[in-house]
Symmetry: C2
Subunit: 98 residues, 2 copies
DNA sequence: CCATTAAGTTTTGTTTTGGAACTTATGGCA
DNA sequence: TGCCATAAGTTCCAAAACAAAACTTAATGG
């Protein structure tokens, strides 16, 4: 079975992991919980490449974990904010921290 | 930065993920929390290939999350049991389930 | 004997990742 | 005006990880 097919799984843990279980994704959420919101902030703190970061952010927005907001129109600049869905995983990261 | 270098990170979340943050690994722990302990049980329920399963189990044992026990000497058969360290993540998986 | 079971290992081809350079649009400043 | 900087990506290519399926080993049951 491919990892990409995990979203159809009966198990809620598996479905959660199909969204946030890729490499680096939970480190983006960690940064969000610490107050970071911009592409360059994530890129600077997590160690992942910009390439992967862009991909992960796109996925998290598609899945409703983050919201992409325009914070400057000229030049176009965006940041990423936690949604209610994104907040739900905060306690899980706290456990991993401890 | 490579994913494999994450274990040196200052952040405790990052170090936790360097052990359990690979694809499929947390699904092995889920199965353990549900009472499964044998290679074939993990292989049957999670959807990962035997190849990857063997690799992940090895890592989890090396990191002290699981313990590999001989439950039959002839033929040689092994199972995998949660250690105290492995139990620590149980609440994190519960949050992902909910 | 032959089939079956458990716990892996091997092989081969496909995906994903990592590193680094490049792009686009704008703003500041000399 | 011309030049450098910044933010948020995108592109390219090689290296690493993964997926699927077959194979291995050792013992047991019929």
């Amino acid at each position: 079975m491919k990892w990409s097919e995990l979203s159809d799984n009966w198990c809620p843990v598996a479905r959660t992991l199909s969204v946030v279980g890729d490499r680096w994704t939970l480190l983006i959420l960690r940064d969000c919980y610490l107050g970071k919101s911009k592409f360059e902030e994530f890129a600077g703190s997590s160690g992942m490449t910009r390439h992967i970061l862009a991909e992960r952010l796109k996925r998290l927005v598609e899945e409703g974990v983050l919201e992409r907001r325009t914070y400057s129109s000229a030049p176009k600049r965006y940041d990423y904010l936690l949604t209610a869905k994104g907040e739900e995983l905060r306690p899980a990261l706290k456990i991993m921290k401890d």
